[in-house]
Structures are given as C-alpha cells and as structure tokens.
C-alpha cells in the first residue's frame, strides 16, 4: 500500500514539476488521441447512422464486420499500418509517415472508427421507430431524418465517442509499433509507461499511469458536464 502511496505522491510531484518532457508527452498523447477521435467521429457517426437507419442488402454482414473490428487487437492494426507505411513494401511508403505522430493517428483512427460506428448503430436503432415515422410524415428528407435521429440519440452517441476516446488514450500496442516510442517525437503516455516498466522503474511507470488516469477522468468529467449542460438548455 505504501508503494502505491509513494507512486501517487510521485505522480503529483511530477505534475507539479512542470517538466517539459513530461508535458510534451502528455500533450502529444492528447493531440494524437483527440485528432484520431475527431476523425473517427466524423466517419463513424454518419456511417453508423446510415447503417442503423436503412435496410439494404448485406447490412447484417456489415454490422457483424463492424462488431468484429470493434474488438480488433491493436497490435494487428499496428502491424497493418506498419506494413502500409513501410518504406520498402508499403503502398504509402513514399509518404515517409512511419514513426511520426501521423502514423499513430492513422492507426488510432482504424481502432476507434469501428467503435464509434458500432455503438452509433446501436444508438440509432434504439431510437423509437415512431420518432422516425413522425419526422418523415412531417416532410423530412433523408438528411433531415438522419440529423434528427442523431440528435435524439445524442447521449448514446456521445457515450460512443467517449468510449472510442477512452480506448485510444489507453492504447499502447499500435502506437508503439508505428510510432516507435521515439523520445521528443512519438513518445506518448502509454509507450512511456511501457518503457519505464521495461527498465524496471515500476514506480515511475505507475506514477505515469496515475497521471494518465487523472487526465482521462478530467476529460470525461468535462464531456459529461458539457452533455449535461447541453441537455438542460436544448432548444
């Protein structure tokens, strides 16, 4: 117990130290995860809404594929992106993106998009069918109906985005593989934790883990407050 208390104290002193390297790592972690979550949101919400709202050939298979990809192992995604961006064999090799934050964002988008899409499908399917019929009967076209359904399912869709973001902030396998954990360039919180653990500095690794959890808690609380405020003042 004392060991954990010391780790917690270390985490606090690290945060208060304003160490540029630590804050660089935190900022890069947030930048990569936030950008990847935003891209996944812009792809996943419309895609999930279209799949959830419409009936078409192959829909069930598409939902099954999405659900499978929701649980895709990060190392597999990392490997795929690594091969894709590899200088020697990758299709996108000439872009020289491997071991850059952009490569990490690409890998994270591939991880989060199925989560946002899959959970949006469930959210959209949970909207009362009579809401959809009412909207259509009042004269909504396809896009207007989609927008209303997204608004009706906004809390569940918000949870989908938060889940996707949570998965990305906790992710280590894919970013390690395509980012390379290069100091001052692609080192993020999770890869830094893995590094310290590998070096036997368990207390430091634990302290970084505590900081990561605190940051996630702060972001989720902020999003929750935002959801609550919007919910109360919707017009």
């Amino acid at each position: 117990m004392e060991y954990f208390a010391e780790a917690f104290n270390k985490a606090l002193s690290l945060m208060l130290s304003l160490d540029p390297e630590l804050y660089g790592i935190i900022l890069l972690s947030l930048k990569v995860s936030v950008i990847a979550t935003l891209i996944s949101t812009f792809i996943g919400i419309p895609l999930g809404t279209v799949i959830g709202l419409n009936k078409f050939w192959g829909r069930t298979a598409l939902i099954n594929v999405t659900n499978t990809f929701m649980g895709m192992p990060p190392v597999v995604v990392g490997l795929l992106v690594y091969i894709l961006l590899s200088n020697q064999i990758g299709l996108l090799g000439p872009l020289r993106l491997l071991f850059t934050p952009t490569a990490m964002i690409i890998a994270q988008v591939l991880l989060a998009t199925p989560i946002v899409t899959g959970l949006t499908i469930v959210a959209v399917q949970g909207v009362d069918p009579l809401i959809k019929k009412t909207s259509v009967s009042l004269g909504a076209n396809g896009l207007q109906l989609m927008w209303l359904v997204i608004k009706e399912a906004r809390y569940a869709i918000g949870a989908a985005v938060i889940t996707g973001f949570g998965r990305l902030t906790a992710e280590v396998g894919a970013v390690m593989m395509v980012g390379g954990n290069i100091r001052f360039q692609t080192r993020v919180m999770t890869t830094s934790i893995a590094l310290h653990k590998g070096m036997g500095e368990f207390q430091m690794a634990l302290a970084l883990g505590i900081i990561l959890i605190i940051i996630s808690l702060l972001i989720n609380s902020a999003l929750d407050i935002l959801r609550g405020t919007r919910g109360a003042s919707d017009r």
């Binding site: 009579l130 019929k133 909207s135 259509v136 009967s137 009042l138 004269g139 209303l148």
Partner: protein, 242 residues
C-alpha cells in the same frame, strides 16, 4: 368535385395475406373524412400508404390529381402531415418541436417565431415553450403533436386515432385544433377513429372499412343516419363484427 385523394384498385398484402383491398375511394378536398371500422380493418394501413410510409402492393393513388402510388415524392409529402395514436414528441423543447416542420421547409426565423407563438396560445402552451417536450403530460404531448403537424398549414392532415386515451378536456381541445386547421388553413383532414361520436361530430364524410374492404362511404349524415349496409348499421350500433 375536387378530390384530394382518389384511390383505385388499391391492395396491400403482408406475407401473402391481403389486409387492404379497395376498389375505389374518393376523398373530398377541404373536407373532414372519418374512417371508421373495427380493429384490423386496415384503417391505419390506409393512412400509412397515403402518407408514403408504406408501399401499396398494387393499385393507383392520385393526390391532387397527380399519381403517387403510395410512394409520394418529397414535394407531395411536404403537403401532408400525420399524427399518430401514441403522442410522439422529439427530445427538444416545446418550441423546437413546434418549429420542426417549419425548419424542414426553410421558413425564416421570424415567421417560425410568429407561427409558434400564435399556435402555442391556441393550444394553451405559450408558457411552456422552453420546457422539454418529453416532460409534458400525455394530453399536452398529443396537443403539441397536432400543433406541430398543422403549423406549416398542410394540404392534408392524416390522423390515426389522435384522441384515443385522452381525457374529455384534451379531446375537446384537439377537436378544436382540427377544426381550426380546416377552417383557417383549408386543410383536408382524414381521421381514423374508433369513437363513433367523434366521427359523427367531426366528419363531413365517412368511410366504413371492414377486413380491408370499403363497405360503405358517403356523407356522415347518410352513413350515421341511414346506412345502406347492415354491417355498417351493426357497427354503428356497437354490435360485434368479425
């Protein structure tokens, strides 16, 4: 005579079972047409087909003389509105709900505001415009549903048992609003109802549906006063019909 809907040889089948089979049916423009009949007669199905929410299996439907065949385009659909039996409000404010169909049609903010305020007074909800609609009582929610459906002044209003499960005060307010739409906006109204008194009270014309067939149609005075078919008489008198 001007017809808002003309229906010819319309059928609807579910899994090979015919639930609607109408040889010919006309609905007058500007009038209130009551559709009566027991449960399972096909009344709601007919409304859904007219609104384009369901496709007919065969037959022809003319809306304002234009063939729509149960698949009206967006232009035709925007001339209609429908209110369902279950009060259905969107998860936004009362104002947002009332403004919804106007926003769909690109009305200006000022016009939206004017119409919402005017109609909210009519349904005694002017002090609830900022309230979340999902917190309204069933009666209030159904009044809001009806107000939202008529605020854009549709050519046709389709009502599927709109006052079922409402208390007499709310029924009276709903009927007042229905008549307001007809009188002020010239809206043609088609109302499905189980309530014979309501059908008699509201409708200019009535259609009696049984097992998907039109048994009798005509002026409400004739249908309720001297029905030509014994099944219509039995139904009006409250006798069981299978």
């Amino acid at each position: 005579m001007n017809m808002i809907f003309s229906i010819k040889a319309l059928t609807k089948e579910y899994n090979g079972r015919k639930v609607l089979d109408i040889e010919e049916l006309y609905m007058e423009k500007g009038s209130i047409t009551g559709i009566i009949g027991p449960s399972g007669a096909g009344k709601s199905t007919l409304l859904y087909i007219l609104n384009g929410l369901e496709k007919a299996s065969s037959g022809e439907i003319f809306f304002n003389g234009k063939k729509i065949n149960g698949e009206p385009d967006i232009e035709a659909r925007r001339k209609m509105s429908m209110v369902f039996q279950k009060p259905t409000v969107f998860n936004m404010s009362v104002y947002g709900n009332m403004a919804y169909s106007l926003k769909l049609r690109g009305f200006s903010k000022q016009e939206i505001r004017n119409r919402v305020i005017e109609l909210s007074r009519f349904i005694s909800m002017e002090d609830k415009l900022r309230q979340r609609a999902v917190t309204l009582s069933g009666g209030e929610a159904q009044r809001l549903s009806l107000a939202r459906a008529i605020i854009h002044r549709p050519e046709v209003l389709l009502l599927d048992e709109p006052t079922a499960n409402l208390d007499p005060a709310n029924v009276a307010m709903m009927e007042k609003l229905i008549l307001h739409a007809r009188t002020e906006y010239g809206t043609s109204i088609i109302v499905v109802t189980h309530n014979m008194f309501q059908a008699k009270r509201l409708s200019d014309n009535s259609v009696f549906l049984l097992n998907g067939n039109v048994i009798e149609s005509g002026s409400s005075a004739q249908i309720f006063g001297s029905p030509q078919d014994t099944r219509t008489l039995d139904f009006i008198e409250g006798k069981m019909i299978y």
